[in-house]
Structure formats: C-alpha cells, structure tokens
C-alpha cells in the first residue's frame, strides 16, 4: 500500500514534466514554422541554379565533341576515397530523428568497407559526433552549432574543403546524409551524392531547344566550375535548413507523445491516490468504531 504522500509527490513531478514537454512542443511548433518558411524561400535558388547548370551542361555537351571534360561531371566507377558529410541535430529529445541519420551513415560505412573504399567522415551536429566518437570511429571534421543555426557562409566554408579535395583528386565522391522534412508528421532520410554531379537527368535536346544562348565552350566551363561550386555549397546549406525543419517536426511529435503519456500517467496516479485515501479513511473509521464498541 503506497504512501499517500509519495503518490502526491509523484503526481506533482509528473505534471511538472508534462508542463515542460508541452512548452517544448510549443517552442518547436513556432520554430518549425520559421524553418519551413526559410526552406520555402530558399528553394527558388535551388531551382534556378539547377536550371542554369542543366542548361549549360547540356549546351557544352552538344557543342563540344566528346562531351564535358570536367571532373565535376565525370561519374566515378570505382571511387577510392569518399567523403560522407552527415547532418544531425545538436540536441536530443526528438525521437528517432538523429538515430535514423546515424544508422544511414553506418550502412554507408559498412557498404564502403565491403568495396574497400576509404571513407572520410565529416560531421555536423553534436548528437552524431557524440555517437561516432563514443564508438571510436574517426572523423575528419566536427562542427557543432551549425545545424541548429544554419548559415550560408559557414556551410560554404565547410563544403569548400571537400570541393578542393575533390578537385585535386584526393576525393572521388562526396555524399551528404541528412534527415529532411517531409510533412508535419514525417521525416525523410536523404542520402544524396553531391559530387560528381549526376548528369543522367540532363537532356541535351531539351536544353538546346529551350534557349538561344550563345556561349563559348571555354568560357562556359569556367562558369560551370564556379556554378557547381556554388551548387555544392548551396546543397549543404539546404540540407542544414531542411534538417532543422525536420528536427523541429520530430521534436514536436516526440513532445506531443510525451505530454500525452504524462497526462495518462497523472490519471492513473490520481486513481491510485483516491483509492489510498479512501482506504485510509476506512481504516480510521474502523478504528474509531471498534474503539467505541470496546468501551460498551
């Protein structure tokens, strides 16, 4: 028979937890709205950059004999060195959000081990970094604080070292792994190959038809270089924004579930409390009555 006071204390603590989780949910809701807006506005840039790159690449492909002779566009059959950039949150309490990304990264690691490819892991976000350093998996880069506050400049700086290594040939492929926003209830895991740029979707006919731009092949290659760099940098930035939105939606859900659980718990505790109270009263009454009886 639990003590009345104990139960009361427990009810107090659970309802306090409930208040906290509810507050966290509200905060995440507000932040999610902001992150979503940011991602939406940013998407225009992605579309335009994509259009231009497709167009330029298509043009060069058509104009130049032998297609594009550029490292950015050559798909690598047997990559010897792969950069994996993963983005996780800096904070926990958001359900399986971080774990999903980590699992995907692990899968990539095992896959590349089988293929005997060397992997360089570059981490953004405290949770993922903590996980990998706990498991003693070497990381090349560790950035904390960027995933909770996405910033184009810092993202670009981070990406630049990968791009530079890619250019001079020490890295053959660059992947970004992150958990993106799908809708309010679901997140979507993205494992995207950033470099080399996938050209399979480029339609030569289509692009030469749609525009009358005249460019010289040499000029355009320099342009393409500059654009692809921007494209890669931007992709990382977008991954960060998308990840923030997803993090908040995941946290919102997790906190909502926690609030409901706490509510449920308070309910059962209240029942237990009432039962205990009633029992205490009954015992007291029995004591009084038996006392009176014995005096007769």
């Amino acid at each position: 028979m639990a003590n009345l006071k104990d139960i009361k204390r427990k009810i107090g603590s659970v309802s306090n937890t409930q208040k906290t989780t509810r507050a966290m949910k509200l905060v995440s809701t507000a932040k999610l709205r902001r992150a979503e807006e940011l991602a939406r506005r940013s998407k225009v840039f992605a579309q335009r950059t994509n259009d231009v790159i497709v167009e330029l690449a298509g043009q060069i492909e058509c104009l130049k004999v032998g297609g594009i002779d550029n490292r950015f566009f050559k798909s690598c059959e047997d990559a010897k060195m792969v950069d994996i950039i993963f983005v996780t949150a800096d904070k926990g309490l958001c359900g399986g959000f971080n774990m999903q990304t980590i699992k995907a990264v692990r899968k990539l690691l095992t896959a590349s081990k089988e293929k005997k490819t060397k992997v360089r892991l570059r981490g953004i976000g405290k949770k993922g970094i903590e996980y990998f350093s706990f498991n003693q998996i070497q990381m090349l880069d560790e950035v904390i604080g960027l995933s909770s506050a996405p910033d184009m400049d810092r993202a670009a700086e981070f990406m630049n070292s990968s791009i530079a290594d890619f250019k001079d040939g020490s890295v053959d492929e660059v992947y970004i792994v992150y958990n993106g926003f799908k809708n309010m209830l679901a997140q979507e895991l993205h494992v995207s190959k950033i470099l080399p740029v996938d050209t399979t979707g480029f339609d030569c006919e289509e692009s030469s038809k749609s525009s009358l731009i005249e460019i010289e092949a040499e000029d355009s290659e320099k342009m393409l270089d500059s654009l692809v760099t921007k494209y890669a940098q931007y992709n990382l930035y977008y991954a960060l924004i998308d990840s923030v939105a997803a993090e908040h939606s995941a946290r919102m859900q997790a906190m909502d579930a926690a609030t409901n659980n706490a509510k449920e718990m308070v309910k059962t505790l209240k029942v237990a409390y009432n039962k205990a109270r009633q029992e205490a009263i009954t015992t007291e009454l029995i004591e009084i009555i038996s006392g009176v009886e014995s005096m007769k």
């Binding site: 335009r48 231009v52 167009e55 731009i213 005249e214 460019i215 500059s226 977008y238």
Partner: protein, 128 residues
C-alpha cells in the same frame, strides 16, 4: 514602353522580382547594361552593384558579392550569393555601408569593390 522581367535570387530568398526598364550588371569582364529584348547571354558576375531602373524611373541599387546572370527571352535571372540593397532600404547609410563591408569581407578584390561601393553610396546619398 518595353520592359523586362528581372529576378534576383539568393540562397536566403528572392531579393527582387519585378519589372524593370534597364539593368546594369557587374560582369566578370566589365560592367554591362541590359535593355529589353537583349540577346540571350549567360555570364558570371563579380562583386559589385546591380543598378535597376524601375518603371517609375527610380533607380534601385543592389550590392552582390558573387553572381551569375542568365538573360533570355523570358527575362533576366540573377543568382547571387549574398545581396544588400543600397538604396531604398530603411536603415541609415552607415548601417548599409557596414553590412556591405561585411558582405564583401571575403571577396579577394574586396578593396576595389568596396571603394566602388562607397562611391556609389556616396552618389546615392547625394542624389537622395
């Protein structure tokens, strides 16, 4: 009168989306102007100022630190890395100059670009 459709896009959003009579752009090989029905063209932009002559004949100046422009039959599309509106912004000149400096900090030829920007801001403030 003829007009062209101008769009300036940065990773943080669309900065300018509207109709213009004339656009002057800081091309990588020199400044050039685009009028309506310009022939198709695609080039890189260096750090500098984009001047937009709007339909009401007012000029809007926007500073960029890197960019790419695509001119075609549909209009002018500028992809920029970072952008600061020099005229028409609500902040004081000092504030604008400060943010412009911040934007150009990382550009290699920043001293020249910054000088040209300050000259531009000067002229704008004198006119305005």
């Amino acid at each position: 009168m003829d007009s062209l459709k101008l769009e300036i896009v940065t990773p943080t959003g669309v900065i300018y989306d509207g109709v213009a009579l004339e656009v002057t752009l800081p091309g990588s090989e020199g400044e050039f102007g685009v009028l309506p029905r310009h022939s198709s063209l695609s080039t890189l932009l260096k750090a500098g100022v984009i001047d937009v002559l709007r339909e009401d004949k007012s000029i809007e100046s926007i500073l960029i630190n890197w960019g790419h422009v695509n001119v075609n039959e549909h209009g002018v599309t500028v992809l920029a890395d970072g952008a600061v509106a020099l005229s028409g912004s609500s902040g004081s000149m000092a504030e604008v100059l400060e943010s412009a400096k911040k934007l150009l900090k990382d550009v290699s030829e920043s001293k020249m670009a910054l000088a040209s920007v300050s000259a531009k801001i000067d002229s704008i403030s004198r006119v305005g």
